[in-house]
Amino acid sequence: MAFLLTMLGAALACGLEMLEALAIVLAVAATRRPRDAVIGALAALVACGAIGAVLGPALIGRVAGEPLRLLIGVALLLFGLEWLRKAILRLAGRRSRSSSYAEFLAEREALAEEAPPPPGRPDWPARIVAFKGVLLEGVEVVLIVAALGARPGGAAPALTGAAIALAATAALGLVLHRPLRRLPETELKYLVGLVLTSFGTFFAAEGLGVDWPLGDAALLVLLGVYVAASQVMAALLARGRAAVEVPA
């Protein structure tokens, strides 16, 4: 079960981050030259690979046992709770829904304002935008996979999840931006927030010497508790908003 949850968490988190990166690369390719978008994205992928190759072994080699679990737990809590906070605000209507398609349009509009270079010369602004977009999302992917994969037996499901996400995002990229509009990104990000927060609490507690009574099954209990609590928070926020909009 821990294998499945780790794989699901890694696949969803990585898939959504890759989707955001894809939106930026597609915007650069559609507005400028596809070649420059691909060059920028590939350079960022190489940089992310290097960061992953250094970070993973260094993390596991230098920190071991309970301190490592605590460190991973805190990192996952920081990521998971941030996703969950935003998701609750979105579900309550306090924040606009998450949309890679909107990001695609905004990026395309921003790039269209700048004149492209003459043919035959490299388009550095386009390359830098694609590089920065892929690098920032890619570093988050590396951090999440490293954190999920650092626990004993965690590397295989985390890497499998990341590979599934990569394949799914690449397939989506081939059929271009139309499916981007149909994805329920807010709900998917909510799910990722729940999974990462559950793992974060589980690891951080283990790092603090806790023996979970149900073993790995405690992850499902944590997931249920966070689902219930976040739904209550979103409902309370939505009710507060409705009361402000429609005064009695």
């Binding site: 805190v74 920081l78 709770l81 906070r85 609490t201 951080a204 603090l208 806790v210």
Partner: protein, 64 residues
């Protein structure tokens, strides 16, 4: 640097501060318990409650 901070710590300072306080409080409790059985059995529930409190504070602060 701003992008990196946003990437690791998120959009606000409230959440990372609350997470540090929640985990810090749990660590203090563990030290105070001297690794007693009650902490090993109930520490996870206590940490989950502290994490929920951190989430509630950050959501409340963001919704203002």
């Amino acid at each position: 640097m701003r992008a990196l901070r946003k990437l690791v710590l998120g959009e606000t300072w409230t959440l990372p501060i609350c997470v540090v306080l929640a985990v810090g409080a749990a660590a203090v409790l563990r030290m105070a318990s001297g690794d007693a059985a009650w902490w090993r059995d109930a520490g996870g529930v206590i940490l989950a409650a502290l994490v929920l409190a951190a989430l509630a504070v950050s959501v409340r602060s963001s919704s203002r």
